[in-house]
């Protein structure tokens, strides 16, 4: 197990390194940089040259990359070129918001999606199944930002309520924080709940046709035992894989939802750093996203073994 984890981490590190090179080259492959943004059209060439030297933008790209990588490996993500704050702190606080959003969404999506999926599977082909399937299809087809917009309209029209415009962290005011993230979480969760329930239904329906279920029923085991001890255990692995996928999807969806609801999360930070060409922030933010996605995948693969000891990791 230890060897497996080490190998996986090494492979992930190589991919993350390649990804960081891609990002680095991409941001430097286009005309326009932070200096142009700062000084505007009527820039003084002497000042521009001095600023470029200050940011190291006059160096060859490979040297810029090497010095960036060296500092990152030493734990220093540098300073934001537009705000002058340490990148680490900016990314950290934005990540906190996105993690809260993702965690709440995952909980809500699981709480809605799993029971719906089980319900649909039990009543396969009958009315409850049809209704759940219609919900799934609509949930998967509706764009997440559109759900968010329509929730805003609906809340405003029926309760004369709109979410606050300024984000308040959870530790400052629980109620204000929750009223700020309620609609974003709901918009993201509806889509993921649909995906979840679709998946759970499909897994159970196909498991019900398997021999081991038939054997368990024929042995005279109660429905409850068959369901919890036999069936759920066997669909555990795909379910955990799916949870990982959903988490990564929420991370992506957060970019859109954060920009719609003005949440200061990682997605908004990425968007604003792209706009202002704030390379240190952009590079750090993207690296964090890639590393999180990789860790989620690793944890998913490791949990296979806990769920099913027969699984061999190689």
């Amino acid at each position: 197990m230890g060897v497996y984890i080490a190998k996986r981490l090494a492979a992930s590190a190589v991919t993350a390194l390649l990804a960081s090179i891609v990002v680095f080259l991409l941001v430097r492959s286009v005309p326009g940089d932070v200096v142009g943004q700062m000084l505007g059209q009527t820039s003084d060439p002497v000042a521009a040259k001095a600023l470029r030297e200050f940011f190291g933008l006059d160096q060859p790209v490979w040297r810029q990359y090497a010095s960036w990588l060296g500092r990152v490996l030493a734990g220093d993500f540098g300073t934001s070129w537009t705000r002058g704050q340490p990148v680490m702190g900016m990314v950290g606080s934005a990540l906190g918001v996105t993690i809260q959003l993702a965690a709440a969404t995952l909980v809500l999506a699981t709480a809605i999606g799993v029971p719906l999926g089980i319900l649909a599977a039990i009543y396969e082909g009958r009315a409850p199944d049809r209704i759940v399937q219609a919900f799934n299809l609509l949930g998967l087809a509706a764009p997440v930002f559109w759900i968010g917009l329509m929730l805003l309209v609906g809340m405003s029209a029926s309760f004369d309520w709109s979410p606050p415009l300024m984000y308040v962290p959870l530790h400052e005011s629980v109620s204000e924080n929750l009223s700020m993230i309620a609609l974003p979480v709901l918009s993201l969760a509806l889509l993921q709940a649909a995906a979840y329930s679709q998946f759970v239904r499909q897994s159970i329906v196909s498991a019900l046709g398997q021999d081991y279920v038939r054997t368990a029923v024929a042995k005279g085991l109660s429905t409850r035992t068959v369901f919890f001890r036999h069936l759920l255990r066997n669909i555990g692995i795909p379910l955990v894989t799916f949870m990982g996928l959903i988490l990564i999807q929420i991370l992506g969806g957060a970019v859109i939802i954060e920009s719609l609801f003005a949440l200061p999360g990682l997605g908004r930070l990425l968007l604003s750093s792209i706009e202002t060409r704030d390379y240190p922030v952009l590079q750090a933010g993207l690296l964090v996203v890639v590393v999180i996605a990789m860790l989620v995948n690793l944890v998913v693969d490791l949990s296979y073994r806990i769920i099913d000891p027969r699984v061999r990791l190689s």
Partner: protein, 286 residues
């Protein structure tokens, strides 16, 4: 192709497939809805009486009425016309990205799976790098950095979906390469290239085509999300995501500016999902 040249067994096959539709209401609904969307794409003039670009500030933000079924936007343009003419723009971008991704991913995947060795290693690494980003974030990164232009948007969507086609084509090629018919072809002295093109590619193609249909709604979601973030097609061109982006600022004053383009995305995605699933099911059954 004229009618007499159609081989009768082909016609029988079409008839058989059509008959089976009666037992698959979801696929039928999907086909009808997709047909409707296709009609809108091909003949927008049939569905919209106004120009999608004609500005009329005196009639800005009017609620839906008989003259403007979907209402008007912040500069008095007809929302129905914008949604109808937007179908062609939005869907042609998605379709081009899909075709390019299927082509590039398919060719690279076939090569990787059939040739193996170092090529397989190299392609595999590149694909892993793309897959290490959540798709939307990759799209935001590419379009954001390269600039909001239609070609950049198509490029970003293509790169995001190449890995999926690559994997399908690669595993298909690997599975087919071990088949007896390939060995037979080889022992008959056929060249590697010929085996790959005439035999393996031909057997992997249907899987890739079905995958195109399955992925279409997902491409549409990402395309419109990028448009919504202002990173896609730029106004005043009517693209569904871009219309929603403009409507966002007036969401409480003129919700119809956002409601209808969103519904258009929903209906199109639903139609394509139903068709994709139906095709996938038929494929799995074989």
């Amino acid at each position: 192709m004229n009618a007499s040249s159609v081989d009768p067994t082909f016609r029988q096959r079409v008839a058989k497939h059509a008959r089976r539709l009666r037992h698959e209401p979801d696929l039928l609904i999907g086909l009808v809805l997709s047909g409707f969307v296709l009609l809108v794409v091909l003949f927008p003039g049939l569905f919209a009486g106004h120009s999608p670009l004609a500005v009329n500030v005196d009639r800005a933000m009017e609620a839906p009425s008989a003259t403007h079924l979907f209402g008007t936007d912040d500069v008095g343009r007809d929302v129905l016309a914008r949604v109808v003419y937007g179908a062609r723009i939005t869907l042609s971008i998605c379709a081009s990205a899909l075709v390019l991704a299927a082509l590039i991913g398919g060719v690279l995947g076939l090569l990787s799976g059939f040739v193996g060795g170092r090529i397989d290693m190299l392609f595999g690494r590149l694909i892993d790098v793309v897959l290490s980003f959540p798709p939307i974030i990759f799209g935001v990164m590419v379009t954001g950095i390269l600039g909001p232009k239609t070609t950049n948007l198509i490029f970003a969507l293509t790169v995001v979906y190449v890995p999926l086609f690559f994997r399908i084509a690669r595993s298909g090629a690997m599975a087919e390469a071990g088949m007896i018919y390939v060995e037979a072809a080889r022992s008959m002295g056929l060249s590697q290239g010929r085996i790959l093109l005439r035999h393996i590619a031909r057997n992997v193609l249907p899987v890739i085509l079905v995958q195109c249909m399955v992925l279409f709604p997902l491409v549409l979601q990402i395309q419109s999300a990028l448009g919504f973030l202002g990173l896609g097609v730029q106004p005043p061109t009517p693209d569904w995501g871009a219309i929603l982006q403009q409507g966002k600022d007036y969401i409480l004053l003129a919700p119809w500016m956002s409601a209808f383009p969103g519904l258009a995305i929903l209906i199109t995605a639903l139609a394509l999902m139903l068709v994709g699933r139906g095709l996938q099911r038929r494929m799995d059954r074989r």
